[in-house]
């Protein structure tokens, strides 16, 4: 076990743990935001640099600070390491710059984008973004394309986190899409608009931290904050069958995987569950999902219905219903 201190909070982790995962072990505000790292995808991380932290002391043996800020998702901890995230103004400043870079070519068409309301980039720009743009140049623009029958790709919104590529690599046997070109002009694409047909390809929608890959069966149907996310399951031969059903009244508008507090899927789900089972009779409803109070989705979202207590003013008693 190695001892590390992150934002003055000590924690003990196993050998080989990254700084980000050590911070997640502590939880709360200490956890740096991550746009490209995905704990369930091997090799992910190291692309977006939003998770930069300052290492004030490299290890117990070598107490010098690391010369540059490091990406916490891909830097393993060492014994006696001292890490600063929110306590270092340098990190906050750097993260502001990263957000500006992520938004450099981003269209910010949130009013049109289906991801709005559950978008990691929105959260990040709200937290660190600036209101002004420093550039005057035109933003790069790509046409909107279909990859496969059920997935829409808005390359304009892509931040090149490579998560979808790893999903395709690690979950499906034939990878049909990847990143074409390099640098400023790189784009996620299929080769000559090949369609992505694998049974688990729909998961790229859920791993995408922005609205670049979206569900065509839900396209423009509603906004996430008008829907009620419910835990639901069904017998499925291909996946766990455990999903989140987004309901409008008694209708299911879309099916997604269940995301944990870091926006990562608990289990990957198959395309049949995701795109084809949209009747409420297909699913066994378990109950409303937990939504953070700060989220726009939490408006009018109740996790439990309480029966009202009855007050008898004359007797001065109250009947409590549990």
């Amino acid at each position: 076990m190695l001892k590390v201190t992150i934002d003055n909070i000590p924690v003990e982790v196993e050998d080989g743990t990254t700084i980000l995962n050590a911070a997640r072990k502590i939880g709360g505000n200490v956890v740096p935001p991550a746009m490209c790292y995905y704990s369930k995808l091997k090799g992910s991380g190291g692309k977006c640099r939003t998770c930069l932290v300052r290492v004030a002391q490299s290890s117990a043996k070598d107490p010098r600070p690391m010369p540059k800020l490091v990406a916490s998702c891909s830097t393993p901890v060492q014994d006696g390491m001292v890490v600063q995230n929110l306590t270092s103004p340098e990190v906050i400043e750097a993260r502001k710059g990263i957000v500006e870079f992520l938004l450099l070519n981003h269209p910010l068409d949130c009013p049109v984008c289906d991801q709005a309301g559950e978008c990691d980039l929105q959260d990040l720009s709200f937290g660190y973004g600036m209101e002004e743009t420093a550039t005057e140049e035109e933003r790069r623009e790509y046409p909107v394309i279909d990859i496969g029958e059920n997935i829409k790709l808005h390359m304009n919104r892509c931040i090149l986190c490579y998560r979808c590529v790893y999903v395709a690599d690690q979950l499906t046997d034939q990878r049909l899409h990847g990143v074409l070109y390099r640098g400023d002009v790189s784009e996620i694409s299929t080769f000559i608009q090949n369609s992505v047909t694998n049974e688990f390809s729909g998961n790229v929608i859920d791993v995408c931290p922005v609205g670049a890959l979206t569900d065509k069966t839900f396209r423009f149907k509603s906004r996430v904050w008008f829907l009620k996310p419910m835990n639901a399951h069904r017998e499925c031969g291909k996946c766990s069958g455990k999903v989140a059903a987004w309901m409008f009244g008694s209708e299911i508008y879309r099916i997604t995987g269940r995301k944990d507090q870091y926006g990562e899927l608990e289990t990957f789900i198959c395309n049949e569950c995701r795109f084809e089972k949209k009747e409420s009779t297909d699913w066994v409803m378990e109950g409303p999902r937990h939504i953070k109070r700060q989220s726009v989705i939490s408006s009018n979202h109740y996790e439990e219905m309480k029966e009202q207590s009855i007050i008898h003013p004359i007797e001065g008693t109250m009947e409590k219903k549990e």
Binding site: P107, D109, C110, P111, R139, F220, W225, F226
Partner: protein, 191 residues
């Protein structure tokens, strides 16, 4: 005992005298006050022949604006509906088809947009929330009707006319900063 206010009166059980008992002087005094009001300046106006002066930013019936080229500005983002404290707004979005670019400004538009004027409290929060400068409140009033369902205003009543002469001017409702920003066509989302 010291009283808390200076308005306390000592109650007396004094008998009324003859004049007080026939009430006549009291009635005459009341009539004098009533007739005196006839010759004062009136506080009411004969609406609708006479209208009061409204503030330029009076919050009345809504309008859904079009842009300079006559395209609908609203993109059915739902921010007005989520901001509305009275939950008066509902909408259904649709995707713009090729060839409809002259009708709708963005890729997505509201195919149904309804405001229930009975629920609306004319707070103007929708106007505040709109990122597309699409919805504004106007000094026009919502008319009275004989049935409740007529108060659900759809797009036919809310979207401003296409004819440039009949457009509704809302520039007075916008702050100097917004008008200044609109002049600046540097950014794509402002073109």
């Amino acid at each position: 005992m010291k009283s808390l206010t200076n308005r306390s009166r000592v109650v007396s059980n004094k008998q009324m005298n003859f004049w007080e008992r026939i009430y006549f002087p009291a009635i005459l005094n009341g009539m004098r006050i009533t007739f005196g009001h006839l010759f004062r300046k009136k506080t009411t106006v004969q609406y609708p022949e006479v209208k009061r002066e409204y503030s330029d930013i009076y919050r009345g019936k809504h309008v859904l604006k079009r842009d300079e080229e006559g395209r609908e500005r609203c993109t059915a983002c739902g921010l007005c509906a989520v901001a509305c404290p009275a939950e008066a707004i509902t909408m259904v979005a649709a995707e713009r088809k090729p060839g409809e670019e002259h009708l709708y400004r963005e890729e997505k538009y509201a195919i149904v947009y309804e405001i229930n004027m009975l629920r609306c409290i004319f707070c103007g929060d929708c106007e505040e929330a709109c990122p597309k400068e699409a919805i504004f409140l106007t000094p026009e009033l919502v008319k009275s009707e004989y049935s409740r369902d007529k108060f659900t205003y759809g797009k036919d009543e809310l979207v401003e006319p296409l004819d440039p002469a009949k457009r509704i001017d809302v520039s007075k409702r916008q702050t100097a900063e917004v008008l200044e920003f609109k002049k600046n066509k540097k950014y794509k989302h402002n073109k």
